[in-house]
């Protein structure tokens, strides 16, 4: 199956975009939105999205098949990694979950359709309606597709015309999703545009930003600052800077048969999207003093990653990525030869996976692509001290703790500034109702009209 040339990103790579083309595309999107999207109800959108997601979960779904067939070459993710990623993302998009999201963020499923008053508001003779942006622009970072897919889903809810700008060569999975929308409903597809260019193209971005009511962006702090500086003052900007995540395993949890499951969960988090998302762990802190020493945990994790590689191979990486991994391994190999405080396990004759154990607890940025640090700590306070350099930038902590200690740990992490705590193994698989980096993803898109009766 070949994709029709429907979106700008479908054009052959030698085709160059001009500001005029973009201005026309923006105008068309807005007109189409007015005609085809604005009149639809939330309930209609819920059903549409849930049906679409159900399709993506079927083995014979043409777009899924295409993602799995061409994805490894176009994205670097191996087929099993893609499969797992697709199942986890689209498995979340059920009618029930979509409605729960609307209630959580807007207080009522019909809030985008009419003035409504849930009981709490009715008591005060109030009602309110939420309105989405007319024209929503997403600047996608392109490491993994989930944030872009989710942005598109939320934009469908708010009935916005949407333009997704992907990085050069990073539009494949967002494009497939957009094509599946178009295939299911041409008119909805006509309210979407996907394009790719290298970020910082001033003339193109000026057209786009002039048309936008709201811009969402994922990227480095410099990227976000550059975008912010170019936006008209009244354009809303929802910036998601890069975040890091880590795991924390308590001595209490790491006992008996449970230990094996925790190791498998850690391997899930390292393997999911090859560790490339902001929610993927760089480090797994393991508390000393339990049945399994942190070093032993590291060794078990290495053995598990070795088994995973046979089942879910990481896939090829470009030479510069392999060079980073190899160079870093070289450093740890030298350290390990000189001190028992460092140990390393890694795949042979490939860079597919690496586990570095260090007694030194200082948070370390992984070079990713299944390169994980395991670090020993006496307790959570030591781990948080060691991670002080990334305080305020931590998205997720994957936790493996005994039931009775989990709440206290989570409260400590919340006060320290962590946005999300989840079970280890689920780090890259947040629920639909997840508050992205601590902010309501749908709630941040809308503006309210309050009616005091």
């Amino acid at each position: 199956m070949n994709l029709p040339n429907y979106f700008l990103a479908d054009l052959p790579s030698e085709a160059t975009l001009s500001p005029t083309m973009l201005a026309e595309a923006c105008g068309t999107l807005k007109r189409n939105r007015e005609q085809y999207l604005a009149p639809r109800t939330t309930e209609h959108m819920v059903k549409f999205i849930a049906n679409l997601a159900e399709g993506w979960l079927q083995a014979d779904h043409p777009f899924r098949a295409l993602a799995l067939a061409q994805g490894p070459g176009k994205t670097g993710f191996g087929r099993p990694t893609l499969e797992r990623g697709l199942d986890q993302f689209f498995g979340q998009l059920t009618r029930e979950n979509l409605r729960a999201l609307l209630v959580q963020e807007l207080g009522d499923v019909k809030r985008l359709d009419a003035l409504v008053a849930p009981p709490g508001e009715a008591k005060f003779s109030r009602a309110a309606i939420a309105t989405g942006p007319e024209f929503l622009v997403h600047i996608a970072a392109g490491n993994i597709p989930n944030p872009t897919w989710m942005s598109l889903v939320l934009g469908l809810f708010t009935r916005s015309a949407q333009f997704v700008k992907c990085g050069r060569g990073a539009s494949f999975l967002p494009r497939l999703f957009a094509h599946s929308i178009y295939e299911a409903d041409h008119k909805l597809g006509a309210c979407l545009e996907i394009a790719e260019w290298r970020g910082g193209h001033a003339a193109l971005e000026a057209e786009l930003f002039a048309a936008a009511d709201c811009v969402t962006a994922t990227g480095s702090d410099e990227t976000l600052a550059a975008i912010r500086s170019k936006l008209p003052v009244r354009t809303r900007f929802l910036a998601h800077g890069h975040r890091v995540s880590f795991g924390y395993v308590t001595a209490e949890a790491l006992v008996g048969q449970a230990a094996k499951k925790i190791v498998a969960a850690a391997a899930d988090d390292v393997g999911a999207w090859n560790q490339l998302g902001c929610l993927s762990p760089h480090v797994i802190y393991v508390q000393r003093g339990g049945e399994f020493a942190p070093e032993h945990f590291a060794q078990l994790l290495a053995e598990e990653l070795e088994r995973r590689e046979a089942r879910e191979p990481r896939g090829d990486v470009p030479p510069e990525v392999a060079a980073s991994i190899t160079s870093r391994r070289g450093i740890y190999e030298v350290r390990a030869a000189h001190s028992p405080d460092t140990r390393m396990w890694h795949s042979q004759k490939s860079t597919a996976w690496t586990v570095v154990y260090e007694a030194d607890a200082h948070f370390a940025m992984s070079c990713l692509h299944r390169f994980i640090y395991v670090k020993a700590v006496a307790d959570l306070s030591v781990a948080l001290q060691a991670a002080d350099a990334v305080r305020g930038q931590v998205s997720t902590v994957g936790l493996a703790a005994a039931e009775e200690e989990a709440q206290v740990i989570t409260e400590t992490l919340a006060r320290w500034g962590v946005a999300r705590v989840c079970p280890l193994g689920q780090m890259q698989n947040p629920p639909l109702t997840w508050r992205h980096d601590g902010r309501p993803a749908l709630g941040d898109l809308v503006t309210w009209t309050d009616w005091e009766k």
């Binding site: 970072a141 392109g142 490491n143 990085g167 990073a170 970020g199 994922t218 990227g219 480095s220 702090d221 410099e222 990227t223 800077g241 890069h242 890091v244 490339l276 990486v317 030479p319 510069e320 392999a322 060079a323 980073s324 991994i325 190899t326 160079s327 870093r328 070289g330 450093i331 190999e333 030298v334 350290r335 390990a336 030869a337 000189h338 004759k349 490939s350 860079t351 200082h362 948070f363 370390a364 940025m365 070079c367 990713l368 350099a389 990334v390 930038q393």
Partner: protein, 423 residues
């Protein structure tokens, strides 16, 4: 015993001296390589004939034995890899130490009291630098290695341009002394002086070249900036570069110093026309000290602002962890090579390079990309086998540099590094 290393150092210098005609005549050997008579690319055999390969192997293994015995930090690494003099039978199996290890370990056979000099890697002040320890004897080896290969690349051009005037027939070996006896060049060095940068191997190298070329210490027009960074005194630099008669100039500097200078010249609308036969040697990365330019663009700007053609621009590849340097020069390249920039680096015959696949750890094939690994016999008192973090494409026994492995070094808190990864 380090006396064994001293004896090795003496013999190595003889080996280098014997290799000099080969080195100086690299151009002629290149043309031999083209007809395939002496050059087997698949085996990464350099274009040196006779018993060279055997001799290199013998010397490398001997030096490995000595370093294994005398350099405990290195021995520990070798033992961890289960590679010892008993198991290593070819130079290519000698365990290579990552350059980053020079930051953490004292990779030297010199006792602390013997270390009279140390070369540091450049880089940001936040990082620990590499440390390569030297003493008089090791510096003598360094200089013995440095000069003939440097001279071969500068002299090759002198020969070509002056061949009729000097009465040299094509293919006649060049005496590197030609450079000095004629006092051919007026030398300008765009770095701080050795007094200001005593731990820079590059400045030491340039200073040695300066002395061989009999230029006075005023040749250094660089200075240290407010935070110890290398800067240029633009007025002094432009004064030094302004032609004075027809004597050609030899301008030595880092890529970033050239960029800063070219930017300043552009801002002041200054264009120089250096005398015919002038040459420019540029080296090193940028390390954030100026805007970064692709090599071809930098060379085009040098041509534009200095009037020096690309054929007269030489690139050097070296580092504090090595004692030999590689050069590329448009004037030395074989015809028909399909390099992107048309230029490949080559080390002298007493050093060998392998381009190693970062994925498999094996040497890559022709035209493929990998990490540069250097076996440098002139690293007598440290470690002869060095694994760099530089990515290069292999062309025969040479390579074209394409950049540094990103995020090779573990960092505690640099979110920027990840932020810019694939965004």
């Amino acid at each position: 015993m380090t006396s064994d290393l001293s004896s090795f150092a003496a013999r190595l210098r003889e080996f280098i001296a014997a290799s000099v005609p080969v080195a100086a005549d690299a151009r002629r050997l290149d043309s031999k390589a083209e007809d395939g008579a002496h050059f087997d690319q698949a085996k990464n055999e350099p274009p040196h004939v006779g018993g060279y390969a055997e001799k290199f192997n013998r010397l490398a293994l001997e030096l490995f034995n000595l370093q294994f015995a005398n350099n405990s930090a290195y021995r520990i690494i070798c033992e961890a890899r289960r590679l010892t003099p008993l198991t290593v039978s070819h130079w290519s199996q000698i365990p290579a130490v990552p350059t980053a290890a020079f930051k953490e370990l004292e990779l030297t056979s010199l006792a602390p009291v013997e270390r009279t000099r140390v070369f540091h890697s450049s880089g940001t002040t936040a990082q620990r630098p590499s440390r390569h320890f030297h003493h008089a004897e090791s510096l003598a080896v360094y200089e013995a290695s440095l000069w003939p290969w440097f001279a071969a690349h500068v002299a090759a051009d002198v020969r070509r341009l002056n061949s009729s005037a000097a009465g040299l027939a094509s293919g006649v070996e060049v005496d590197p002394g030609l450079l000095t006896s004629a006092a051919t060049y007026r030398t300008v060095v765009l770095t701080p002086s050795p007094a200001q940068a005593p731990n820079s191997s590059l400045v030491h190298m340039f200073d040695f070249v300066r002395q061989e070329l009999r230029a006075d210490a005023g040749a250094f027009v660089g200075r240290l900036g407010a935070v110890g960074e290398w800067a240029l005194d633009f007025d002094a630099t432009l004064a030094a570069l302004t032609p004075n008669g027809s004597r050609p100039l030899l301008v030595l500097g880092t890529a970033f110093s050239f960029v800063n200078l070219l930017d300043e010249m552009s801002a002041q609308s200054i264009r120089l026309e250096l005398p015919t036969n002038s040459r420019v040697l540029e080296t090193g990365g940028y390390k954030g000290r100026s805007r970064e330019l692709p090599k071809a663009e930098l060379h085009a700007l040098i041509t534009e602002r200095f009037g020096v053609p690309a054929s007269h621009i030489i690139c050097e590849y070296g580092m504090s962890e090595l004692s030999s340097q590689a050069y590329d020069a448009a004037s030395l390249k074989s015809e028909g090579q399909s390099l992107k920039s048309g230029r490949a680096f080559r080390f002298p015959p007493w050093a060998r390079v392998q381009i190693i696949s970062p994925e498999t750890g094996r040497e890559v094939g022709e035209g493929e990309t990998g990490l540069v690994r250097v076996f440098d016999l002139a690293n007598v008192f440290s470690v002869l086998a060095i694994q760099t973090e530089d990515l290069a494409v292999r062309y025969g026994d040479g390579f074209e540099l394409i950049g540094r492995a990103p995020y090779a070094e573990p960092r505690g808190c640099s979110l920027m590094a990840v932020g810019s990864s694939r965004a």
